[in-house]
């Protein structure tokens, strides 16, 4: 079907990591997302064959979790936290301004396929609130202004890899805690960066 040899090989490797085939489902969905930017029905059919459950069962899981996208997203998935700590620290301004800048409502993608905007629940960076993520790479201690600068930069440079440390340095503020060692590997798509999935790569 629609997965090439390479991807299928990767999938089979992932399946071997689990005691039961079906336990690999979540990871395989991430893999599917890294391929298309969303979970296509085609990928669902492939995964259903691979793990031996029905297509609708795969669909059920993939639509339950909001990190599995049901539609193609833009090159950069902007996820701004709207939960309590960030809200107290004025995330609503970040949200409003970013929406203004991108012209997007919640869960919308622009016509050029560059940005998808979403306001999300806590992303675990409360200490550095308000926070947001670009393709799940986190930036903390934001201001509305910096958030817009970040997006302008993305729009202008359109980097293929986005790296949390870099963005934090250029656009972030107070961090929740020191992130220890420097990491120059970042996300290559709108799937979270996992080594096993090859969705992360070091920036040269």
């Amino acid at each position: 079907m629609s997965w090439d040899e390479k991807l299928l090989k990767q999938a089979k490797k992932i399946i071997k990591l689990y005691p039961q085939k079906r336990s690999a489902l979540g990871t395989l969905l991430h893999l599917a997302q890294s391929k298309d930017g969303y979970i296509s029905d085609d990928s669902i059919s492939v995964i259903s064959d691979l793990v031996g459950i029905t297509e609708v069962q795969v669909k059920s899981v993939s639509t339950f979790y909001s990190m599995y996208k049901q539609e193609p997203t833009g090159k950069y998935l902007l996820s701004v936290c709207k939960s309590i700590s960030c809200e107290i620290n004025n995330s609503s301004e970040v949200i409003n301004k970013l929406q203004e800048f991108t012209g997007l409502n919640n869960n919308e993608t622009d016509e050029d396929g560059l940005f998808t905007f979403e306001a999300v629940e806590c992303i675990g960076a409360c200490g550095g609130a308000p926070a947001m993520q670009v393709n799940y790479e986190t930036v903390e201690g934001l201001t509305a202004e910096n958030a817009i600068n970040l997006c302008s930069w993305l729009k202008e440079k359109q980097p293929d890899i986005v790296v949390a440390d870099d963005m934090q340095k250029d656009f972030g503020g107070v961090k929740s805690f020191d992130w220890a060692i420097k990491d120059n590997s970042g996300a290559t798509s709108n799937a979270p960066g996992f080594q096993t999935l090859k969705t992360t790569k070091a920036k040269k």
């Binding site: 459950i53 029905t54 609708v56 069962q57 639509t63 339950f64």
Partner: protein
């Protein structure tokens, strides 16, 4: 295991088996707790919270869902406290938030748990003023099932059923939170042999069937309990009618048989009852045309024939007669002649079976208590769908399943061991030394076995089946479930003697030994492995009398066609299932026109002809049927109608089957039947006809190569016959074997003991040329 536990519910001390859920323990003691998602045949999920009750805990009173709470000793429970009532009101208020409340146009209204429990436990008024969520009103999730997602309360009964019970989870929850809906995968409809069960257990009107949609209100329904005669499982059913029309069949929970479930064929193959095409008047063939005739004239013409002492009479009986009907034919034959009468059943697979003293026969419940189940029979899911469910249930409990032969395809998914083409040859013989098979050594030898054993296809030799049974019997503690699949076959076994099948009919019957043939509820010309042979026999007989509910190919060859009542819903009597369990067949609707029951026809004929008889009432027939069975378990009406016997009474019998030995060891084809076909009743049941009886064959890869087939379609050619159909490659088939489902018109007209040629479809050829 069965430790007793004491608990106090609402101030009353009750006792219950431990390991029960609180909701069950209360139910057993007559304390009803409202519920939506809990169903006693499904695993608990605690989805709906309707069953909240208060229990006392070390930290004070606590609300818990009684459907997921196991009882413990000394548990103190309150199911009616103010807190519980408030919780129930709250749950219902939440459930109703997004419920459309379109009861006036909902099929479920009047028998709807949501309506009923809102009345009993709900808040009096709605506080909800916002907009409810909307979905497209019903969508077809299959040809026969509709889903109205607005009405769904997300109890997961339907999804659990399809996952846990039927094992074909084609519906699931999609999305989450308040967007959650039940749905199928795009373009993967809910194609399940058991889909109707979800409609029955849906606690609201979210799942409905096209068959019953907008047909009636529950309070207008008449209903009665009966037995499905669709196969030898004999599932317990409830018939529903309104204004003398049969409208619906529901499953009844008979613990030892169907546990509430039905297959879709049993559930929906009743619609033919209301067909305009039903035979209504007796007919006689005059110069190859049928003309209507008075029933009295039929009697008098037949009387003349019968009274001629030289007349030789034979019977070809279908499987859809009641035990009482069979007895009527038996008594009729006795009254005309002293010599032993042979009764031919319309069954291509009839053979002697493993009965008698040397065989311990199994009950269906033995499946659950054995160590392993060994199957070699017709494909269970296609032929006895609810028996398949029971096998599946046993397998889930840990019973090992060992399946022989390519004929049991649908079991391969759940089988622990599948002995396919390497073990069972193209000629349906086990070609390995069974005693040397490792899994047999591990799972079978010395264990408690239930063997589901029957003939898979007409060309299989009797010996091959016997060998396997003998092996099992001598190496393990084996109970045998002899598997004949058609309707009331076991009723015929219990009531008739000298029983033979269609094969012997073809070998035995000719105008030499038969002047008058009664064909009853059977269309072998339209649907049998031996169609052609039977057709030429019938054409040569002097007088053929057909009793049936529709005209069909066999009736067309008859001299008289008598319209009769259907065993389903139109007559009273009894039915005997695969474990010799006899239960009630009941009547709910009148039969059309001048139809009478088979037994009424025969007794009237006997009276007309002045033949002495003592079977002038149904009760008399019913008594006669079971004369030899001792009083306490005799399945006569009085006994069966006792509340404790509604599930039927088992009397294991030793049938007198006198088929000649089939020693053929050469099969050119593998003919079988799929659940849905195009028999005369199926054609006239809209739901069933929608489910398709497409013509196809299954072939092994080497045949694809041999005949150079590429397009997915081919033509089957023999003499001047040609049928174009699609083929599927089936890797389970041994080389050179072709599976042909012969419950499709045209397909059974081929001669399967002769070569058939398969050509790449001519249609495709024409396309390729262009």
């Amino acid at each position: 295991m069965s430790d007793k536990v004491n608990l106090n519910v609402n101030g009353i001390d009750i006792q219950s088996d431990s390991n029960k859920l609180l909701i069950e323990a209360c139910e057993d003691s007559g304390i009803h707790i409202p519920r939506f998602c809990w169903h006693k045949r499904l695993d608990p999920v605690g989805m709906c919270r309707m069953c909240l009750v208060e229990i006392e805990t070390p930290r004070g009173k606590m609300l818990v869902p009684s459907c997921t709470t196991e009882i413990t000793d000394e548990m103190v429970v309150d199911t009616e406290s103010d807190v519980v009532k408030k919780a129930q009101e709250g749950v219902l208020e939440f459930l109703l938030i997004n419920h459309p409340l379109d009861c006036p146009i909902c099929d479920k209204a009047g028998e709807c748990p949501l309506q009923d429990q809102t009345m009993a436990y709900g808040p009096g008024e709605s506080r909800f003023v916002e907009e409810k969520r909307h979905f497209e009103k019903p969508i077809n999730i299959s040809e026969i099932i509709l889903l109205d997602r607005e009405r769904c309360i997300l109890c997961a009964r339907c999804t659990r059923f399809s996952d846990e019970i039927s094992g074909d989870p084609l519906i699931e929850f999609i999305q989450r939170g308040n967007k959650t809906e039940v749905n199928t995968f795009p373009n993967e409809p809910f194609k399940s042999y058991f889909s109707g069960n979800t409609v029955q257990i849906c606690p609201v009107g979210a799942l409905t069937s096209t068959s019953y949609r907008f047909k009636a209100r529950p309070w207008d329904l008449k209903s009665t309990r009966s037995t499905c005669n669709g196969c030898t499982m004999g599932c317990s059913i409830e018939l529903n009618s309104s204004q003398n029309k049969m409208l619906r069949i529901l499953g009844v929970d008979n613990d030892s048989v169907n546990q509430g479930w039905l297959c879709d064929k049993g559930r929906y193959n009743f619609e033919y009852l209301n067909s305009e095409k039903r035979l209504k008047t007796p007919q006689k063939s005059v110069d190859n045309n049928f003309v209507e005739i008075e029933i009295q004239d039929v009697y008098s013409e037949l009387t003349e024939i019968i009274q001629d002492r030289k007349t030789k009479i034979n019977f070809l009986l279908g499987s859809n007669l009641t035990n009482e009907d069979y007895v009527a034919f038996r008594e009729f034959s006795k009254s005309i002649s002293d010599s032993e009468q042979t009764f031919y059943l319309n069954d291509d697979l009839l053979y002697k079976g493993q009965f008698g003293q040397n065989n311990e026969l199994a009950k269906i419940d033995d499946l659950n208590s054995s160590d392993a189940i060994v199957v070699w029979a017709e494909d269970l899911k296609e032929k006895m769908p609810v028996l398949y469910l029971r096998v599946r249930q046993a397998v889930k409990k840990g019973v090992k399943l060992i399946v022989f032969g390519h004929t049991n395809e649908t079991l391969t998914d759940i089988a622990d061991v599948f002995y396919g083409k390497e073990t069972v040859s193209k000629n349906f013989e086990i070609i390995k030394d069974v005693s040397k098979l490792n899994e047999i050594k591990n799972y079978v030898v010395g264990k408690n076995i239930t063997a589901i054993i029957g003939k898979s296809t007409p060309q299989q030799s009797d010996e091959s089946i016997r060998e396997l049974s003998e092996f099992l019997k001598s190496n393990s503690n084996t109970k045998i479930l002899n598997t004949y699949t058609k309707g009331n076959t076991y009723g015929a076994f219990q009531t008739l003697e000298n029983i033979k099948g269609t094969k012997d009919f073809v070998d035995d019957i000719s105008s030499e030994n038969t002047d008058l043939l009664f064909v009853v509820g059977a269309d072998p010309v339209g649907r049998s492995f031996y169609s052609n042979e039977i057709k030429s026999i019938l054409e040569n007989l002097d007088t053929v009398v057909s009793l049936d509910i529709f005209n069909h190919e066999t009736a067309e060859l008859s001299n008289f066609v008598i319209p009769v009542s259907s065993t389903l819903g139109e007559k009273e009597g009894t039915f005997t299932n695969i474990e010799f369990r006899t239960s009630r067949i009941d009547k709910l609707v009148p039969s059309p026109g001048q139809s009478i029951s088979d037994s009424e026809f025969i007794t009237s004929l006997m009276n007309f002809a002045g033949l002495s008889n003592d079977i002038n009432s149904l009760e008399a027939l019913n008594n006669k049927a079971f004369e030899s069975i001792e009083n306490s378990t005799r399945p006569v009406f009085d006994n069966l109608d006792k509340p404790s016997n509604l599930d039927g009474i088992i009397n294991i019998s030793d049938p007198i089957i006198t088929t000649s030995e089939n020693s053929s060891t050469k099969a050119l084809f593998y003919t079988g039947e799929k659940l849905y076909g195009d028999s005369v009743t199926e054609r006239h049941s809209e739901s069933i006809s929608l489910l398709g009886s497409k013509k196809f064959i299954e072939i092994s890869q080497n045949i694809v190569d041999k005949f150079n087939l590429t397009s997915g379609k081919c033509s089957m050619v023999q003499d001047d016959m040609e049928v174009t159909l699609s083929y599927k490659i089936n890797d389970n088939l041994p080389d050179d074997l072709i599976y042909i489902p012969i419950n499709r018109r045209d397909l059974n007209k081929f001669n399967f003991s002769k070569e058939i040629t398969f050509l790449p479809s001519r249609v495709e050829e024409a396309l390729n040329v262009n």
